[in-house]
């Protein structure tokens, strides 16, 4: 135990001595948490729309003004021909073309039937998808308005309409920030912990100081623990700062118990730090460690369920994400913060991440060789 005390004393001294890194560790996540959620916005606004109106009727005018009034679209072109509209798309001045055919109003009134044509520029997939969907729902709405106008009295007319009303549980206003901030915090904690630990042992290898450790009677697990604990403390500090930022700036107060949240974050940190230390024991230079960690970080983040839902991934990806500790943290953060889940609800995730922590750290101790 005494050895660990000396190891910890040394590690903390080194951490606190490097003021620049310390500041980065503290300030970087806070800044990112303040800035990133503002940018990582799922709502798409300012979709550039070109309208090709062959009808020039009062209905087509009504439809266009309804679309522009929605606030999502910016009318960037009002063209006489589809060709001109296409040119706008090619020049990247329009994301969508809505073509209103000749006789739009007449056919709608007389024949109860009309088609509209929407062209979507799918280079930016998210914008195209959402833009198309928004436009579709506005047109549907417009359609309902017309039906009411045309068939005001008839109770038995037309097909039965199912009206759907939905309510968003746990995030009633669908504020994307409530959804993104806990996830981004999860990723920041992962990055800080992962990179710091991955670079640490390998740094001692580069500087040659590991030789002096290896030739001493220090036990392997003491050495690893001496590395693990300081970063674990640091990780918890970053996590706390993150929670404070999300409370002060975004007004996110965890519905669930803070202790449950910290319990999970603590176990998660052990897992991700163990992973970093494991990488560190495999590498000879900080550069190698950096690139390997970067490789895994990309996978952890993109397959962690922050940006895309894991449920909609292909089966193989679902299996991969089961081995992704970050996916559990993001999930639990959202559960506890937004839904108010308790210890019992997160037990499966806690158990899995606990197993990760044990396996990764044991592997790191095993793979750290005092002699070769």
């Amino acid at each position: 135990m005494r050895t660990i005390r000396f190891l910890l004393e040394k590690e903390f001294r080194q951490i606190f001595r490097n003021k620049a890194i310390l500041l980065l560790i503290i300030i970087m996540p806070v800044m990112q948490l303040i800035i990133l959620p503002l940018a990582a916005n799922y709502e798409v606004k300012n979709i550039n729309l070109a309208v090709v109106d062959h009808d020039h009727s009062s209905y087509s005018q009504k439809l266009i003004s309804k679309i522009t009034a929605s606030g999502y679209f910016k009318l960037t072109g009002y063209n006489a021909s589809f060709k001109e509209g296409m040119k706008l798309i090619e020049a990247d001045k329009a994301d969508l073309i809505l073509e209103i055919p000749h006789g739009f109003e007449r056919n709608l009134v007389r024949e109860n039937h009309q088609q509209l044509f929407i062209v979507v520029n799918a280079i930016n997939g998210v914008k195209a998808n959402l833009g198309g969907a928004y436009l579709g729902s506005i047109i549907r709405d417009f359609n309902n308005d017309i039906r009411l106008q045309l068939l005001p009295v008839s109770k038995f007319s037309g097909a039965a309409v199912i009206e759907i009303s939905s309510s968003n549980l746990f995030n009633p206003l669908m504020k994307y920030k409530f959804f993104m901030v806990p996830g981004i915090l999860a990723i920041l904690v992962t990055m800080i912990g992962g990179f710091l630990s991955a670079l640490n042992i390998v740094k001692e290898k580069e500087f040659g100081t590991i030789e002096q450790i290896n030739v001493s009677p220090i036990r392997k697990h003491h050495f690893i623990l001496g590395k693990l604990i300081p970063f674990w403390v640091l990780g918890n500090v970053v996590f706390t700062l993150g929670l404070l930022v999300s409370w002060l700036i975004y007004g996110i107060e965890p519905l669930g118990n803070l202790l449950v949240l910290y319990l999970f974050a603590s176990v998660f940190l052990l897992a991700i730090l163990g992973f970093g230390l494991l990488i560190s024991t495999f590498c000879d230079t900080q550069q190698q460690a950096m690139f390997i960690m970067f490789f895994f970080m990309m996978i952890f983040i993109l397959m962690g369920g922050l940006f895309t839902s894991i449920d909609s991934m292909p089966d193989w990806a679902k299996i991969v994400s089961r081995f992704n500790p970050v996916s559990y943290l993001i999930e639990v953060m959202r559960m506890v913060i937004l839904k108010g889940s308790g210890l019992r609800d997160i037990l499966p995730q806690l158990g899995t991440v606990g197993v990760f922590a044990i396996v990764l750290n044991a592997w790191a101790v095993w793979n750290y060789k005092k002699r070769n």
Binding site: T3, L7, Q212
Partner: protein
């Protein structure tokens, strides 16, 4: 005679390259043993095996009475090691380094305190105690490094080219430290490229291409090879070497 290091055909192979080829020798308790050889002769590899940093490919060896295969942790408790590269923590102060290495060898707080005071006094580093090691000149670093390696009173201390790149005056002071440690009963196992330093040793061995080609006192070696200086002895043996880096 009591031997603190005993090797028998100790060998280390890396693939089909034999770095250290069946070396057999003994080091007596309390002596200063010079371990000489050209670059790439296999000195560092041999030393790393004896320190428990490298697993031998074949042969046997005991250090301080412990087996280099099975009892490396016991060996590590009984030796000090100063590697070719400076390996104290540059981002810790002189005092913090002393405290850390004292601590991990199990010295008590009181021992650490008195020993580090003595050490700082002896090295005339009192004013630098709170300075980062990175800011010290190389010569001072090497002296500090040695003093830290013998802080826990090991039975043997292994020094791998401790005076490389150090000025002559500091080298002289460094050897004063070595004699002082030797006087306290610590066996010194040292590699060097300086032939004047070889003369300071009680006995020396000269390695060529992974093998020990000569082993005796400096005086005996000189008469054996009919040479007037250790320089000539070394040159006579090492010029036949095929390996160098």
């Amino acid at each position: 005679m009591e031997y603190v290091i005993k090797t028998d055909r100790l060998t280390k192979r890396f693939g089909d390259f034999t770095a250290t080829n069946e070396i057999t020798f003994e080091v007596e308790k309390g002596e200063i043993f010079g371990f000489l050889g050209a670059n790439g002769a296999g000195k560092t590899t041999a030393m790393r095996m004896l320190c428990g940093l490298s697993i031998p490919s074949s042969g046997t060896a005991t250090v301080a009475g412990f087996d280099v295969y099975k009892q490396t942790e016991e060996i590590k408790r009984n030796i000090g090691y100063m590697s070719q590269r400076f390996s104290l923590y540059e981002d810790l102060t002189v005092q913090e380094n002393i405290r850390f290495f004292g601590g991990i060898y199990g010295l008590s707080n009181r021992e650490i305190k008195t020993k580090s005071e003595d050490l700082l006094e002896q090295l005339e580093l009192k004013n630098e105690a709170k300075k980062l090691v990175a800011s010290l000149p190389l010569g001072w670093k090497q002296k500090l490094s040695f003093s830290v390696a013998v802080l826990h009173q090991p039975k043997i201390v292994f020094l791998d080219e401790p005076t490389g790149g150090v000025d002559p005056v500091t080298r002289r002071q460094f050897w004063d430290l070595i004699y002082e440690a030797s006087a306290k009963g610590i066996t010194i196992f040292v590699t060097t490229h300086y032939m004047d330093e070889a003369e300071y040793c009680n006995r020396i061995s000269i390695m060529v291409d992974g093998k020990i080609e000569a082993l005796d006192t400096p005086a005996n070696l000189k008469s054996q090879f009919k040479a007037s200086s250790m320089d000539q002895v070394f040159y006579h043996l090492a010029r036949g070497a095929k390996r160098s880096d």
